[in-house]
Symmetry: C2
Subunit: 327 residues, 2 copies
């Protein structure tokens, strides 16, 4: 049994073809090969905290995975991160514990960002003029970094509420090779960017249909509960293509759920990300189309990244040439 700490996990990540690993996971999910029981939840009141236990496996695969992730929102007062996380890998045929990945929530962040890059690969306009990012946190950084794998565009406009956070984001991302304009006006993002990623915890729409003058792809990442919302549902109603990471889950929460509940988007109009990947190639017919991907996060992403990290850790020392700069 192996225990992998965060440093080792970051190191081996750079040797993994994460796009391929996560794409395979989405295809298996859409093909009905993934077994994922309901999420376990443990709640605390004083101080407030929540623990989520997600677990499942891909039929015929080697491992099953349990992920334990928690949020204790008073932690920053104690100088501790509010999120914790770990993944456990077991043999599917014998139940033997194989590895404990003390990833602290980082692998969830990464697998989410990789899904964003996959969505852009299949859905973004062929010519990305400008990338628009909503949010200035960890996920807003990772999403942008991972887009390097699917577009050469380095021209970025980032929206945020706080000037200071915007400045830090700009400085960090410029060091990572992007040219970043900051704004607190959502219309400015909508007017110039044609590949937009929203990664905020907003509970009301940040972006309205009227703020999107032309063809665009939007990946919505932030809205992972029934309350959260980042997009005007009219955008989804107008879109030429709306893609869900999990059809079933997106009907329960996230942007799609709001539009379906409002009666302006039909379930039959949805496609699942795994279908789009399986069909291959760009899923839009022109750069003028409007497409939306709603990523609420599915357990198969955890299964795939945990497995890949463990296998890479047992296989070899990563080659310097292959190391991406940002892990």
């Amino acid at each position: 049994m192996q225990v992998l700490g965060i440093d080792e996990i970051r190191e081996v990540l750079s040797s993994i073809d994460l796009m391929r690993v996560i794409e395979e996971g989405f295809q298996d999910f859409t093909a009905g090969k993934v077994v994922v029981p309901p999420v376990g939840e443990l709640l605390f009141e004083e101080p407030p905290g929540e623990v989520h236990i997600k677990y499942g496996y891909i039929r015929g695969d080697r491992y099953y995975v349990i992920k334990i992730a928690s949020g204790f929102y008073d932690n920053p007062r104690l100088g501790l991160p509010s999120s914790h996380g770990m993944m456990l890998l077991f043999e599917q045929k014998t139940g033997t514990l194989v590895a404990i990945l003390l990833e602290g929530g980082y692998l969830t962040d990464v697998r989410t960002a990789v899904a964003g890059a996959i969505a852009a690969k299949y859905l973004a306009p062929e010519r990305v003029r400008r990338i628009g990012i909503f949010g200035t946190g960890v996920q807003a950084r990772l999403q942008l970094r991972h887009l390097k794998e699917v577009t050469d565009c380095t021209d970025v406009v980032v929206w945020g509420r706080r000037r200071e956070a915007l400045d830090r984001y700009r400085d960090d991302m410029e060091r990572a090779g992007f040219r970043v304009e900051t704004t607190r006006d959502a219309a400015q993002v909508g007017a110039s960017a044609n590949l937009i990623v929203t990664c905020t915890p907003s509970k009301e729409p940040l972006l309205a249909l009227g703020q999107l003058p032309g063809g665009v792809h939007i990946t919505a990442v932030g809205s992972d509960t029934a309350e959260k919302q980042e997009l005007d549902p009219a955008i989804l109603a107008r879109a030429d293509l709306v893609v869900a990471d999990s059809r079933a889950q997106c009907l329960e929460r996230g942007e799609i759920s709001h539009a379906v509940r409002a009666g302006i988007l039909a379930e039959s109009q949805l496609r699942e990300l795994g279908e789009v990947i399986r069909d291959g190639g760009r899923a839009r017919s022109s750069d003028e189309q409007v497409t939306v991907a709603d990523l609420t996060g599915v357990a198969v992403q955890d299964i795939q990244i945990a497995k890949a990290v463990f296998e890479a850790s047992t296989r070899r020392v990563p080659d310097d040439d292959e190391q991406l700069p940002f892990y």
Copy 2:
């Protein structure tokens, strides 16, 4: 963060007052202080396997605990144990992972046996003439060993189906200081023993009311699902006192559930083990009474033993004098 292996766990167990620790847990449970969400379950078909994820905490306590236990019943063909298990201990106020106990299912076995000793402490006749054990497995061994903490009686009759298993049980337990008679006739146990523990996976009653001529206490341990059954429900109907480890759970599964469903035992007649402990002293009015304790296993036992093991491991090296011989 500490990772404790099975050797270290066995070593520190001998320095812990497990009776006290588990008694406190049952009292907290009965007092409504324990938060335990539904058990998570993951099932496998080829080869067959099942994983159970149990988790919870005692309000106002320091830790929360997640237990992962699995059974893969083809494992013995591969020379592997069929059961696996581990417990994870986290800080309740911050979610920080504190310890990983690689206990392999052993702590579940021990906390179950300790509950048996607690039941005997409060419910057995004052003068135990003879101990009767049904079953020859790990739990049948641990139950008998733990009874040493509550009775001086070392005269034992053990019932089993297979001669070979009976002989091995006798040899092992005689080395542990007991005098053991073996039998394949349940009536022989009922006729001579007045403290009986059943720990088999039987799906039909092993012991009938007519086979119990006098006062007796029976602790039923084996029946932890809705299908399993070790006692004639008439025994529970006749009993002067029927005690459940968890009232709610025993109505769903175990001996009590069979008797209640048969309409011969009323829910109002039940007492909970935590109540009996809280009231203190022997719960029977004479050695001639018949009492039954039904132990289906509750998560607070896991919480308490995990916490105690971790705290003992950080505290000190156990004193030789205190070491029980059997861990």
